[in-house]
Symmetry: C2
Subunit: 339 residues, 2 copies
């Protein structure tokens, strides 16, 4: 009997132990933890082989690769994940292909109102700017908010004044004009007048998550928001927990898609919470949020994610997402379509 | 041996079952689920018997009770939790005692910039306004954003134009002037000039969570933010997941305190996530977030919460929080201090 009781207690203990440690499942890394890793997106949406001509496809691929390699070089040289995220996103903000910085979409008033945020997974510090119109690199302004103010979120003129005081490059709002986006606004207004839904819109938000040699995660997101947006609408990109989240204990996330759904579902933080409290892996958590929770609500979009072990996940529920990644010792990989 | 193996399997099964069902612990309600319930706060902070004269204490108690009873009457008559939350918060917005609506604190520019948000736990719809200066009841504007726009968050003039178009009462910004708050701004500026920390500040944000007879949860929060705030600073109150969250599957939350910490820690949603994924009760989740996670970071404040079973929790890590609650068949209860 004593031996039987011993076995029973042993089994109970083992079951309970495996239960209380479900959290550590995601540490079962396939392969070695890379010395560093970086993952990037340039927006998710109705992106198909038909909607992008082959030469344009190459342009997107080249620019994504350039941005990834720039961040990767910083990481490889021992730089911080924050520096990698900021540098990578600045390259995408400078490129008119993406809906962030130069190339941001126009609001209904014909203005480019941009949002950005950044988060440091080592200490949960975060910074965000929303509805700014004259900051060349909104991601750099977000970083200044994080590092040089007591605040997390600054909006409109106040954010612009702060950025200027901090030496962030200010430009004339006309800098952000691109013919393509102006044309998109006119088309959106026509569809609105005809009471037609905008089915062709591509988000084009950009984001980056990086893990550095010191095992620090950082995440950032930058966007021009929605074409033809009204009334000072702010989406998920500058909302910590919705569009951006980073925590060394779990993962770093940057989101892109129909922002309202990402706010309501607290998407970026939900992925971290599922890992920490629910024992889901990064892959499981990301898939559950993007392909179950959001899909059931018709909330379109995707996320890029890196966990603390350098695992990459990039789920999206649209036909495409501009995305890519690179890990120490590997090559930059870039993808656009689902298939 | 067969019997022994049977016992072993039984024990393993029971252990695993209890593990996979940790989530339902919070359904172990003490007592009956009330037909409806409401919980209210008027801000947490350095609130002591010394800092509030007895006659002022009574004023706070009376106003909190009036607000609770107004919401409770709606719930008792079969009204929705959203109506109860909006009505209750409007009463507190109208009262100069609290830092919301009339009585909102002044920004560094001498302006009252108010934020509010509301969330419907039955469908996760949400609405928020930030940095508005002429909307008499920001909580009502937030509700219109939720119900009459495709968006969740509108800021500044855009939010004001939307609110006016929706028939929300617009007032001259001078309506929000109170001598007490103006004096607080002058004192804050003096302390700033002397490089002294502001140790006396009380938040005074208001919030409400309600559970109606249809078992729908709703939560709302309204604030003037921080005295002497600069650069268009937005705190946690209009950030869904940080200052406000409601989900019929778990709980409704309204937060008050040092907003930046509440954003970084995604406080309102974290409490829900701990319940849903981690199997914590409302009481455990609220306490863990407010008295452990936030306290370790020196993030001061508190939350009010109602779970889907009508359990009330009101943890705070400051010396006081204006708070109260009422359940079907009970009386309105109001408290201010910790002891």
């Amino acid at each position: 009997m004593k031996i039987k009781a011993f076995y029973l207690l042993l089994i109970i203990s083992m079951s309970l132990y495996s239960c209380s440690n479900r959290q550590s499942d995601n540490e079962n890394v396939l392969g070695e933890r890379p010395e560093w890793a970086i993952v990037v997106h340039g927006g998710a949406g109705n992106i198909t082989h038909e909607s992008i001509p082959p030469e344009k496809e190459q342009e997107y691929m080249d620019k994504l690769k350039e941005a990834i390699v720039a961040g990767a070089n910083i990481l490889d040289n021992g730089g911080s994940s924050l520096d990698a995220v900021e540098t990578t996103i600045k390259i995408l903000e400078d490129c008119p292909l993406f809906n962030a910085g130069k190339g941001a979409v126009f609001s209904a008033d014909g203005v480019n109102e941009m949002d950005a945020s950044i988060m440091d997974g080592s200490n949960l510090n975060a910074g965000a700017v929303a509805s700014v119109t004259n900051i060349k690199h909104p991601i750099s302004a977000a970083r200044k908010v994080m590092e040089k103010s007591k605040h997390v979120m600054l909006v409109k003129e106040g954010a612009e004044i702060f950025a200027e005081e901090q030496g962030i490059e200010i430009v004339d709002p006309s800098y952000f004009y691109t013919e393509k986006r102006w044309h998109s606004l006119q088309k959106a207004k026509e569809r609105e007048a005809d009471k037609k839904d905008d089915k062709t819109k591509k988000s084009g938000t950009v984001g980056c998550v990086a893990l550095d040699k010191n095992e620090n995660l950082a995440a950032g997101t930058s966007t021009g928001g929605m074409t033809n947006k009204k009334y000072g609408r702010v989406g998920d990109s500058p909302v910590i927990g919705a569009g951006t989240y980073a925590n060394n204990k779990s993962c770093g996330i940057s989101a892109t898609g129909h922002g309202e759904y990402f706010i309501r579902n607290v998407v970026a933080y939900d992925i971290s919470a599922r890992m920490v409290y629910g024992g889901e892996t990064l892959e499981e958590a990301g898939n559950n949020v993007i392909n179950k929770v959001l899909k059931e609500q018709n909330g379109s979009g995707g996320i890029i994610a890196l966990d603390k072990n350098g695992n990459v996940s990039m789920p999206f529920n649209t036909t495409g997402m501009f995305r890519g990644w690179m890990k120490a010792g590997g090559e930059a990989e870039v993808l656009i379509f689902k298939d």
